[in-house]
Every structure is written in structure tokens, then in C-alpha cells.
């Protein structure tokens, strides 16, 4: 029931396991799939957490594959009548190892990982943050600025009119606050200023994801959700939808355009006209 030569197949499996383990680790070690550049203030916490986790996961993964390979190599295709041995310490040692070493390692990851999460979610947006409303709909993002009066107009779903570009269902005739609201297909923000992005879902579930910002958050219709962040570098970055929202999901994107404060003020002024 074995290979043609006793133990050949077991040895082959062992070699293949080693190759797979090393081949899998290689792209990570060579950083062939780098994370997007980090343009946020909190992103480094996430990146560090990822890095630490990668080390622990990598050691566990490669270690386990190598041990499996070593044992399969050593203990398959043995001469008939070879004595059986038991792992020294038996199950007890392994259980203790799992609880103590793995338990501590993994729970430490969780405990230290809190920092990054807390940074994003447990601190409220600053009072002087720039408020922008994002609306996700099948299949586009729109962004609304409060305009000079600093107030957002009410959303009237029944007044939504895509044809006339009234994406938010604003009622400027009757609603004073809505008159100066600025609606844009691009999320334009000033650099180094905290943004308080309020998420409004118009139809089904969507999600806002900017890799460089290290921000991802679902839009939930019916819920007032928001995220806050600060971009530290100017440039154009892609916003993609990451929650399946229908046939146009793959193509639902917008751009985050980070400008200097001066450029942003100019842009805002231009939109008001």
C-alpha cells in the first residue's frame, strides 16, 4: 500500500511541504505585495499590528508545515517491526504549550491591537473637524459640503431626482440650509485637517474603503454612521465600494482628492458659484 520504493511517497510529501511553506513565505519576506502607502495619522498603528501578526502567523505557519514535513519524513516508510514511540510529555505538554504560548501570543495581539481600533472608533471627531456627508448609492458615491452657512439641508428621499442631479433629495426652495450645500462626485479635502465623514446609505448596503487612509466602514441604510480621519499627504486616492451592492459593485468608485488648505478653499469657493 505504499510507494514503489518503501517510503518514497512519504518523503516526497515531506519535501513538497517544505517547498510549499518556503514558497508561501517568500513573497511576504520579499515584500512583493506591499500595503498601499499610508497617508493617515492612525494607519501606522494598524500597519505595526499587521507586521507583528505577520511574524506570529508566519512562524506558526512555517513551523507547523516544517514539523509536519519532518515527522512525515522520519516516520513513514519505516522498517516493519520498528518500535512505536510517544511524543515526550504526551498530550499534556502540548496542551500547556497551546494554552500558555499560543494563548498568550494570540491574546496579546488582541490586547495590543485595541490601540489602533480605539484610535479610529473610540475617540469622537474633534469639534473643529470638517464635516462632510458621503452618500452611497447604486453605483456611485456623492459627497456633500455644508457650504458657507455651515448647516446641512434635510434629506427628502421622495425628492431624489437623479436626472436633475438632486442626489440627496434636497429641497432648496423650502429649506434654507440646503441652498448653499455643495454636492460633489469627488471627495475633496484639505490635507492635515481632521475630516468627519458622515455616511448615509441611500438604497442598499455599501462600504467606504480607501486603502491609503486605512479606513473602511459600511454604510447601513437607516443608521447614522460616521468615521473621522486626517490625511497627511496630498494626492488623488481611490475610494472603492467593498460591500456587494448589485451589478455595478465592481465599478462603484470615486476619488479622494487631498489638497493643500489653500487649494481646498479655492475649490470650495469655486463650487459655491
Amino acid at each position: 500500500m505504499g510507494g514503489h520504493r518503501r517510503g518514497a511517497m512519504g518523503k516526497i510529501l515531506a519535501v513538497v511541504l517544505v517547498i510549499i511553506a518556503l514558497a508561501s513565505a517568500y513573497p511576504i519576506l520579499k515584500n512583493q505585495y506591499p500595503l498601499a502607502e499610508d497617508i493617515s495619522t492612525h494607519g501606522h498603528l494598524i500597519d505595526e499590528q499587521l507586521h507583528d501578526t505577520m511574524i506570529e502567523a508566519g512562524i506558526s505557519f512555517v513551523g507547523a508545515q516544517l514539523v509536519l514535513a519532518f515527522f512525515v519524513w522520519s516516520f513513514s516508510g519505516r522498517k516493519p517491526g520498528s518500535a512505536l514511540k510517544n511524543f515526550p510529555g504526551g498530550a499534556r505538554v502540548l496542551v500547556i504549550f497551546a494554552f500558555v504560548i499560543v494563548g498568550i501570543e494570540v491574546l496579546a495581539l488582541g490586547a495590543f491591537g485595541q490601540k489602533a481600533w480605539a484610535n479610529v472608533y473610540f475617540t469622537p471627531a474633534r469639534a473643529d473637524s470638517l464635516q462632510i456627508q458621503a452618500q452611497a448609492e447604486q453605483f456611485a458615491f456623492y459627497f456633500r459640503y455644508a457650504g458657507p452657512d455651515g448647516k446641512f439641508g434635510m434629506i427628502h428621499p421622495e425628492k431624489i431626482d437623479e436626472g436633475n442631479q438632486n442626489y440627496f433629495g434636497l429641497d432648496p426652495e423650502n429649506d434654507v440650509a440646503a441652498r448653499d450645500d455643495i454636492v460633489s462626485g469627488e471627495l475633496v479635502i484639505p490635507v492635515n485637517r481632521e475630516i468627519h465623514l458622515m455616511l448615509h446609505g441611500k438604497d442598499v448596503g455599501h462600504s467606504f474603503y480607501v486603502r491609503e487612509l486605512r479606513i473602511q466602514q459600511d454604510f447601513v441604510p437607516g443608521l447614522d454612521l460616521s468615521v473621522h480621519f486626517t490625511a497627511t499627504k496630498t494626492g488623488k486616492y481611490e475610494i472603492v465600494c467593498t460591500q456587494l451592492c448589485g451589478l455595478g459593485h465592481y465599478n462603484m468608485k470615486a476619488y479622494l482628492n487631498v489638497m493643500s488648505q489653500a487649494d481646498f478653499d479655492a475649490w470650495l469657493k469655486q463650487q459655491s458659484q
Binding site: M1, G10, L13, V16, I28, Y33, L45, T53, A57, G58, S60, F61, Q65, L68, F71, F75, S76, S82, A83, L84, K85, N86, F87, G90, A91, V95, A98, G103, V106, L107, L109, G110, K115, W117, V120, F122, Q138, P157, E162, K202, D203, V204, G205, S207, R214, Q216, D218, P221, G222, E238, C241, T242, Q243, L244, C245, G246, L247, H249, Y250, K253
Partner: protein, 591 residues
Amino acid sequence: MAETSAQPAHVHAPPEGFIRKYIFSLDHKVIGKQYYALALVAVFSGMFLSWLMRIHLVWPEAKIPGLQLLSKVGAPGGIMTPEYYLSLLTMHGTLMVFFVLTNAPFAAFGNYFLPIQIGAEDMAFPRFNMMSFWTTFAAWVVLMLAFVIPDGPPIAGWTEYTPLSAIGKDAGPGMAWGASCWGVSIALFCAGSLLGALNFIATTLDLRAKGMTLMRMPLCTWAWFITSCIALLAFAVLLPACILLILDRHAGTSFFVPSGIVASDRLQPHSGGSPLLWQHLFWFFGHPEVYIAILPSMGIVSHILINSMRKPLLSAKVVIYSMMSIGFLSYMVWGHHMFLSGMNPMSALAFSFPTLTITIPATILTLVWLGSLYGANLQINSASLFALGFISMFVAGGVSGFFLAQPSIDILLHATYFVVGHFHMVMGVASLFGVFAGTYFWFPKMTGRFMNETLGKLHFWITFVGTYCIFMPFHYLGLVGNVRRYQSFVDDFMAPYIPVHKFITIAALITGAGQLIFLYNLIHSRVWGKPAPENPWNATSLEWTIPSPPPWNNFGDRHPVVYHDPYQYGVKGSAGDFVMQDSPEVIASGD
């Protein structure tokens, strides 16, 4: 937990007639084979769908000859529309998770072998058993109906998040009747699974043979038993969820849809519902479901590994308690699918900790498997290759869980290919490896013939290397931000990674072709396979004490009596290095 005392033999005559024997059979073995056959059809169709998806991903404009036969609307002229990609994606997930991963390792093998391994002549409720299979079959028929209705299958993914799945046709193609087919199909599937779980539990508790204490049950029986306990609670929650979804879709209720929804330029007539409610109900089922998918394979692999190593595991009790704790913890972690969903961010941490804690029993299991290999006398054959491959794959898929369990890292990796790689490896491939191992191992018992070893090994190598080639790169793609459920990659940053997707597609097609070798082997060996004796693997559990294939009443006129645990290997038995579980031979170490 008493076992029965020795009872007189049964009196029921064997089933007569084709219908009673093969169609509406009460025999757990036939029902097990029926589940297996259904899973086979589902896995090959699910795999076929994944081929179509993979081809479309790298050649979106490609004309796939004949595809227009599957759907004129979805693939006019053979070119797949974006919405049809999502339909295939939804059906792929639904078929695989429900009809393959719940059916094959659990319902199929469990039905066939649980009664035999505990020394019973059948399940406790054979009529419920038959009903449970045919209900599952009806669920599959209703699901397949989605392919033939004009609007096509739903496009909301196997998770069918609301409001997308609840507002009907305004949500998009396939969301009128296709999603209703899904809802009814899954509701039926829940009913079938509940009946099945009930059967497994009652049978395990009450129909064990004399001497068969709970701790003397084989590890795969334990796995099936724990799985049925999980399944009982999980499907009992999904069923109400599906009912509420169907009501939202067709009866004008608003369980899951809030007010103010404007889709397809129409204000939807709902108000006050909660999309998060669906997610909570779904994932409360969904997370235990993934353990329902993996636990039976853990049991099967343990069972086979012991036989192949010619020695017991370092501690069967530790394995049993680990599987139990995994089952228990599985109910505390569902929120880790919802870290970014808008639920209270504090709860993210509350869910993160039990998720990370599950690492402990999973690690214990892995270490026990590995540690038991030390000093073993490992026999390599198709079954043991897949069992060993399971360990490798389970670790590979499991460690990516370290990342996803942490909410802060989930910000980066949620809804990317990283997640897709994780669950395909740890749940899809690993679980299937358990099914393959079980098939090669138990085929001689079920049919009286061996499967072809050479083809089996070829199947293993193609599958083992192939699935690593397919799914390991998914993790890297996720790290760079490759979003999932996209029918093509139009993001600027994805351009350099299209070649990786091409590599994956080629690997997927080759690996898929390798599965045809398995199918051929299965069918060919059934008829022309080398005849197998009663105990070809020198194994010890009760299924190896009866003829191959077993008679309709399993043990014939006798009622087995069991004297020790089922893994007496590496001992000086009269027949070799093992002692059968029903042999009163006295051996040095007890159970």
C-alpha cells in the same frame, strides 16, 4: 448515558422493491449515499461555476462557448454580464457551503457510519431520516430553479445581506424571484438539517451497543455528534431569519428594511427595519455553520490518521474536549463578521477575544495530530495523504484567522481576497480533504471494492499542490487591497496583479480537471475495482467487523459488544498490531 443491554435481534424483514431499497429508503446507509450523491452533484456544479467565474475575471470580454445556453440573458452570445458573474458567485457559495460542506462530511458519512460505529442497526428515527434527505433534496431543486427562471439567480452573495436581498426587483437582476428561490431553498435546507441533527443526537445518546460508553466512541462519531448539537441550534436560528426575509420580500413587512430607501428611482414601501438584524441572525447561524463544515472532517481525519499511523493519538480525550470547546466557542464569535458593519465598536472587541481564544483548541488539535505522528509507523496511501494534507491546509487557512480576528487589521482586510483565501483554505479545501480521505478509506467498506490507488495519489498531488497555488496568492492579493465580489478589476492599482489572477485561473482549471480523475475513479472502481476484504486497513472500529458492503441490518443477527476504546493499535493482538473494538482480548493497557 447507559448503553442498552444485549437485546434480541430485530424482526423487520429487509426492504423489498426498487423504490423501498434505493429511493425512499429507511436504511441509514442508503440515505448516507444519497447525501453523498447530492453533494457530488453540488460540488461539481459549484466547481464548474467557479471555473466560469475565474475565466471571466481574467478575460471579462471573453466569449465562453455555450454559456448562452445556461442563460440567454446572463451571457448573451456567451459573454458574461457583470450581474451574471454575481449570480454565479451567489450560487457557488450557496451550493458549496450548504449542499457540499454540510452534506458530505456530516450528513453523508455521518449517516452511513455513525450507527455502525456505535453498534446500532440504524438511526433512531429512520423515517425522519428519510424525510430529512428528501427535504434537503427538495431544497436543492428549489435552488436550481433559480437558474431556469427568466430573471436568473440572485446576485446578493450567499450571505444575502439586506436591504439588497429584501426589497425585491428594484435591487437588481435576479432579486425578484431568484432571491425568493434562495430563501425558500435555504428554509427547506434548515428543516432537513434540523431533522438530521435530531436523529444523530438521539441515536448517539440512546442506541449505543453494550460496552460502548461515550468515551469509547470513535473520534469521527464524536465529531458528528458535536456537529449535530451545533447544527441543531444554528439552523434553528437561520430558519426564522429566512421566514422573516421572505415576508419582507413578499408580504410587505419591514423586519430588515428601514424607511427612506430609494432604489431604481423608487421609494421603497418599507420602514423601520434593521439591516443589521439580518446580519446578526445570519451570522449567529453562519459562524457555527463553518464549524459544522470543519468538525466532521477533523473527526474523520483523526480516525484515519490513527489507523495509518498504527498508533492512537496522544490523547483522544483531549481531542474530544477540544472539539467540544470549539463547538461551544463557535456561538460566541459571530460578530467578527460584522466588525465594520456599524454595530457598536465596543462589541467588536467583545467578539474579538473569543475569536482569538478559539485558536487555543484549534492549536491543541493541530499539536496533538503532529505530536502523535512522532514515533508512528505511518502508512502512506491515498486516504492518509489526504489526512496529512488536511493538517497542512487547516494550519495554512487557520493562521490567516489571526489577522481577521483583530478588528483593527480587519479595517484593512475586510471584504478583500484575504478573507476569501482564508475561508477557502480553512473551510473549503480542508473540509473537502476530510471528505476525500473518508472516501478512499471507506469506499472498500461501502462497496466491497478498492479505489484505484495510483489514480488516488495522482488526485491528491494535483489537488494538494493545486489548491495551494490557487488560494495562497489570494492572501497576498488581499494585502494589496484586492476587493472581493468584483466581476472584473478596474481599479488603477490592480493592473500589476492581473497576471497573478491569470496564474490562479490556470491553477483552478488544472486542479478542477484533477477532480475529474476522482470522479472517474469513483465510478470505475464501483464496478471494476479490486475486491476488498472485510478489514482491508487492519482497522479496529466496529465498521470493520461487518461485511463489505454491510447487510441492510448492519450486524446481522448479532448485537455487538464492545470491550475497550476503538483505537487499540500498536499492541500485540492475535491478528497483528491491533485489536478490534469488539474483541475481548485482554491487552496490557486498558481504555
